[in-house]
């Protein structure tokens, strides 16, 4: 009991030191639920090689990661979207200098129940579905049932990416929004769970969540173009239309163990782990173009 108490208090004091910016042996990583499993895998392997380092990895969404980075409560923010210009302004105000590292790629899979007869959808179809312009599966060759739209909460990078690339088509000024009728689920796992037990639901999750009990829809850019299924090859060659880069953000040029960790993530064995967790590795290891200063 006593040793436990000692362990807890010492853990706290180390955490506090770290919060004040001194590079310690305790790394706090926060952000995107999409890559939380990948970063957790990196962290486990990293602490095996460097047993003096403690790494805490928590999800919550890309927005949560940026908020934590800007409020100085984490060392590395993980994100499945680019940092927002507004967030850069706030970072400046808080004296934070975000540095961006592209660490992998992810295909966003649109998933339905395996019993759903709909296999193929175009980007326009997806926009109609998620904005509830068309509300019935029979419009897309399915049963005569209402479509249940599943989305993530607005703090999710996946939510923002899907909105910007499928609903707004890259034009951030255009007014498209998810339908208010969309169910906002607290995590990607919650979407996967609901789709598995509800044959009329449709949702979007990172490629890592695809499993036997979920069917990923093949997507075409426009009618007449081929329908492409999400997998490592189609994301890597860019033919799958809904894919996105994954990022780590640090405050300023990383130093000490934070730098070693980022270098590890970008190394060959780190990138192999990207592939093992069903994401797509970046090309060009050690390439400076995967790094960007955002201040």
């Amino acid at each position: 009991m006593l040793t436990l108490a000692v362990a807890i208090t010492s853990g706290c004091s180390r955490g506090q030191q770290n919060g004040h910016g001194t590079a310690g042996k305790n790394i706090q990583i926060k952000g995107s639920d999409t890559i939380v499993n990948l970063v957790q895998a990196w962290a486990e392997e990293f602490t095996k090689r460097n047993p003096v380092v403690n790494i805490g990895v928590t999800g919550g969404g890309s927005g949560t990661g940026f908020a934590a980075l800007l409020n100085g409560t984490c060392d590395i923010g993980m994100s499945s979207r680019l940092i927002d210009p507004k967030e850069i302004v706030k970072a400046k105000a808080n004296g934070i200098q975000p540095v961006e590292y592209k660490v992998g790629l992810d295909g966003l899979a649109v998933v339905v129940h395996p019993d759903n007869p709909v296999h193929n959808l175009t980007l326009d179809n997806l926009r109609d579905i998620f904005m509830a312009r068309k509300k019935n599966w029979k419009d897309f060759g399915g049963e005569n049932r209402k479509i249940v739209i599943l989305s993530r909460e607005s703090n999710s990078g996946t939510h923002v990416f899907f909105k910007e690339h499928v609903l707004k088509r890259g034009n951030t000024k255009s007014p498209e929004e998810f339908s208010p009728e969309a169910l906002l689920m607290p995590s990607s796992q919650a979407i996967a769970d609901e789709v598995q037990q509800n044959p009329h639901a449709i949702g979007y999750v990172g490629m890592g969540y695809i499993c036997q009990a979920l069917k990923a829809v093949a997507v075409a850019v426009e009618p007449g173009k081929p329908f492409i299924e999400p997998n490592v090859e189609t994301v890597m060659d860019g033919s799958y239309p809904i894919s996105r880069p994954l990022f780590l953000y640090t405050n300023g040029e990383p130093t000490d163990y934070i730098k070693i960790f980022v270098d590890y993530a970008l190394s060959e064995s780190g990138q192999k782990m990207v592939k093992d967790t069903d994401f797509v590795p970046i090309g060009g290891i050690g390439d400076e173009k995967n790094k960007r200063l955002c201040y």
């Binding site: 919550g60 969404g61 927005g63 949560t64 940026f66 908020a67 800007l70 409020n71 967030e87 706030k90 049932r145 209402k146 479509i147 249940v148 909460e153 607005s154 703090n155 923002v160 951030t172 929004e177 339908s179 208010p180 009728e181 969309a182 169910l183 906002l184 689920m185 607290p186 919650a190 769970d193 609901e194 037990q197 509800n198 009329h200 639901a201």
Partner: protein, 288 residues
Amino acid sequence: MRKIKDFVIEKLIFLSGITTIVFVVLIFAFLLKEGGTFFYEHNPLSFLGGKLWYPASDPAHFGILSLLVGSFLITLGAAAIAVPLGIMCALYIAEVAPASVKDILKSCVELLAAIPSVVIGFIGMVTLVPFVRTLFDLPTGLTAFSGSLMLAFMAMPTIVSISEDAIRAVPWQYKEGALALGATKWQTMFRIVLPAAMPGIVAAVMLGIGRVIGETMAVMMITGNAAYIPSSLFEPVRTMTATIAAEMGETVKGSMHYSALFAIGLVLFIITFIINFIADSFMRRAKR
């Protein structure tokens, strides 16, 4: 010496008493400070009456009408289930049950209060939600109805234990008088005991409702969180509490979204304050 001791203890007790008040006032002041900045730039009427909640969009929409409707719908549904059930249960425990059953039942009800809300939410998500979907042939089981049903379980313990106290506080002369005049046990219970205990029961109901309206975790997991105004209990809803819980993590301190969430907190605080005030005034009447 004795006087000093008296003085110290008296002041200590005074201090413990006053801290609660200080905490409440501080919480309210903090909510007012953080949420108040929202109303510098936004009209309270368009906040309360706006139908669109798109806090992270550009331009952002901060309308909480659908969230208010969601919270009230779930509370109303939970009350409709928990109130009759809870009062009957209290009557049974206080008036009908034999001593052995009474003890078991009472501890079971108290145990129900001890289940954490996340566990209730989880159980609801894996058992109730698919069941509701197939039973009523709905598009999805993540509905206000599922939320109400689960929350009714959470309000029950409060309603049962406080109602039971109120029923037992009814003077025995009332009952003996009724029975002596030839009323049956059933008539005594419904026409004498229940009306006499009514102020206490109303207080119990209000406190139970207060618990439901502030509940967060369970509703976030089983109500679907769709921010639109539902047309029935069998559609998804989003509550105020779930909105705060789901979105607080992403907001940067001082942003408009941040103060909008605090403004929701302020609205919730005022609602629960009113409910507690009503409960309190009935409680006082019950004592008289």
